[in-house]
Symmetry: C2
Subunit: 497 residues, 2 copies
């Protein structure tokens, strides 16, 4: 990387090499996105002085670029859930999130997240985040109305619904359009500004950590206007510097599967420096191969009534899952092509509102004609549609278990969209690996021993969400804001040294 | 882990804390398996003094437990390949190995491996490893005869054969039965014993690395008979301590997918200490999530004529691939069950010689009966078999592209074996992640800068083989022995400090 500074995040500076401390603070926070902002607020409210160092000239991070849906629930339901008639159960939320994370799950962290999620909602209300007590019925990736609640994952879909009672947990800010992110970060930034204990230094690059002889983190080196400064952090450093989706070298090395994506999602500062800094002092980076990668095929919701097939003419996924899950399983197929088969009416909806960008691969007045046009083995798509349409008639998808509400026979003429990654469709991606932390935000080494003085939150840490196939919208901002708060509180409770 | 020593591999000792050096050597090698042994021989032959520290009371490592097939070829073919009529091309070998490693491929390392593979064969001859100039025709996981050459991967299978001309590259030692590993390590151990420059210390645990103020690796701390000793290595330390398949904590954190396996493959010392030592001084651990995981369904080779289906009654993989590739794709199915469908005759072969351990899930005098017995959706298996048998008649598998030599119609009565991981079948696994190294064996940090004085080889490094879906037998011992030699030569060329 051409702009890599000479002082490198992968090599800490020794405190004995520090000639003087240029800044002093209780807690130094790297990055002013959702995680860093919430960490600062909590730490200041607990009595610590805080300095946030932000690379950009303004706050925001990737949270401001997102829709800022926030995944919350449990404990009987948030105010919005309850008002909309959903008495969310903590165990259902826990079971759902455990299934989402699969074998990579950090049960302790997910447990902590779920048990404190309703309180987190209350804390967000307290700092002024507005939520309307209304439910958005339509299946959507992001809520373009000001409704406060919607389903944002695979809660109602197989196999999740069979093992955890579905409940909507995506909380959407009280604002029209896709404007939740900017509003959310404005509220967080205002809260930071109101607190005298917090200083923010913009256009500041965090270069590397400073450690003492016992490898305790003492502070960090920053650069402003070509000059380096040593910052002493008496209670600790909290790394909230995002993920590494903008670092091509790290992607190639750690998450090569994401190379199937077309559009990295994140801010330009997501270059992994926070993760590298943590690794440089012994922090374990885990789940580094995983990322969110998706085929965002809805809206329109009516696409859910179509079917997805591989080059064998086979279905392989219930099409009512979250789009990231469909994308993840599409990538796993040993198949040259993946197609979305829809009716002409559904294709009309697609053309009007979709931003997927998939091109038409074939059309057919009959299934046989479409099968031929796609070059599928004769009889395969015909068999798949025969079974599917029969299953629709009796309201039970025996092959992929799509929920009955989406089952409508697909009658020709039919249209096939080519959704093969790499053939035109929009495939967004971002990283889901990072520093291993305790639920408290304390960074741990490969043996899970705490690195004294070091905390991480948001995408710099490896949080509750760990796989594309188990992602739900709102889990990133939910995790960033909650883990930021936990790290802020934990650091503020540490003795000053 | 209960037996974790107090001096921990994840924290290096500072040279300034070393009161005295108890041992001096040019090169210290951790681990006396295939990698460590070959590293020692090369280093000694280049004029360095070498000390090998081995945890066990004898040499061997996981290489001695393996069949010791060695994956070699290119440059027109090894002596054995040529004698058997195979003029192997380096580019074909390179293309095949690149496809095997997929997006995780280290092209530079694979290039180096392939270009020097025939020379590696010659080196093995020179130290006394015997190979017979004979070709083993039958499809096998390991060669139970003394034949010198066999196909050990997916070379002849789709999609590999279409992009790289197939050639057998599995070299089997000149010994009857599955006895290649012990013989190979006996030869290596004899070679080590013949070299005065090499000292071996058994029953010795490597505890942690020792670094100077510039983080250069100076040596390591060992423990013998409850006592710690500081070892000064003037040219460097080579970590050849195996992978981490025996460390449950590391598996859960780094390679949770392997939890689907039933049998860890490796020696008891494969606890990841070499990898942790490397990480403790800034070495990057990469590909940590990946492992070999397999459903070893052949022998008998006749199983290849059966078909594998999921709970949708669909085929998803050409059954003539390497067993690890079939296992990898089986694990990726969104399916409650995976079945192997065979004829009664093939089942007879299976019962006689298989060690897969899969139980019979159903039988049928007709396909319909088997379909019902397995609880598959009516018509699905019938359609799959109709298409498959038609394809067999015309000698072309239009669905999964199994090679023509394996295509024989499956006529009832039929037997279904339940090969779902976790339901009785033997599922061996081991890790394929480790320290990132240059082809020279030098360990690098996350920015690919060399860690001075540190080398890694074998499973402690992340080598040429990176995925179950692209594994071929012989790639592990091939990689261990070749990368060990490279590291030994590189360290021996370093200035003494």
């Amino acid at each position: 990387m051409s702009d890599m500074p000479k002082t490198n995040p992968s090599q800490p500076r020794k405190a004995s090499d520090v000639a003087q401390w240029d800044r002093e603070t209780d807690i130094a926070i790297v990055g002013f996105g959702g995680a860093g902002g919430c960490a600062a607020i909590e730490a200041a409210d607990a009595g610590s002085s805080v300095t946030i160092f932000e690379l950009a000239s303004a706050s925001g991070g990737s949270t401001a670029m997102s829709s800022a849906e926030i995944y919350m629930g449990g404990s009987g339901g948030t105010r919005v859930q309850q008002a909309c008639g959903f008495a969310d159960n903590t165990e259902d939320m826990f079971n759902y999130m455990m299934m989402c994370a699969g074998p990579q799950a950090d049960a302790e962290k997910i447990r902590d997240y779920c048990e404190n999620s309703r309180d987190h909602f209350q804390w967000l209300l307290d700092i002024g985040v507005p939520f309307k007590d209304s439910f958005h019925e339509e299946r959507a990736i992001m809520c373009l109305t000001d409704d406060g609640l919607l389903y944002t994952g695979s809660e109602k879909a197989y196999p999740f619904a069979q093992q955890a009672k579905p409940c909507p947990r995506g909380h959407n800010l009280y604002v029209e359009g896709d404007n939740g992110g900017p509003l959310f970060m404005k509220i967080v930034t205002d809260n930071v500004a109101q607190r005298d204990a917090i200083t923010v230094e913009y256009e500041t690059r965090a270069l590397t950590l400073i450690v003492d002889e016992q490898d305790r983190v003492m502070g960090l080196v920053i650069r402003q206007n070509q000059q380096e400064f040593n910052v002493r952090a008496h209670q600790g450093v909290i790394l909230c510097a995002g993920g590494f989706v903008m670092n091509e070298d790290m992607l190639a090395k750690y998450a090569p599967m994401l190379s199937a994506g077309t559009e990295p999602i994140g801010n330009p500062g997501d270059t992994g420096t926070g993760i590298l800094m943590g690794m440089s002092v012994g922090g374990a980076a885990i789940n580094m191969h995983e990322g969110f990668i998706s085929l965002p095929y809805y809206p329109p919701a009516s696409m859910t009534k179509g079917i997805v097939i591989n080059d064998k003419g086979q279905r392989f996924i219930n099409e009512d899952v979250y789009h990231g899950r469909l994308g993840a399983f599409a990538l796993r197929q040993l198949s040259d092509r993946i197609y979305f088969i829809v009716t002409v009416e559904q294709y009309g909806d697609y053309e009007r509102v979709s931003y997927l960008g998939a091109q038409v691969a074939g059309t057919g007045e009959t299934v046989e004609e479409l099968e031929q046009e796609l070059g599928l083995r004769q009889g395969t798509l015909q068999q798949t549609l025969r079974v599917y349409n029969e299953d629709c008639e009796r309201g039970q998808d025996s092959i992929c278990h799509k929920a009955a509400e989406w089952l409508e026979p697909l009658e020709p003429p039919l249209v096939a969209l080519d959704i093969t990654p790499g053939r035109g469709a929009f495939v967004p991606y971002f990283t889901l690996g990072g520093l291993d932390t305790l639920p408290s935000g304390e960074v741990v080494d490969p043996n899970r021993r705490i690195i004294p003085g070091l905390y991480a939150a948001g995408r710099t840490a490896c949080g509750v969400v760990r796989r594309a196939e188990g992602y739900s919208s709102g889990m990133s901002v939910g995790d960033a804001t909650y883990s930021g708060r936990r790290a802020g509180k934990q650091a503020a409770a540490a003795p000053r040294n």
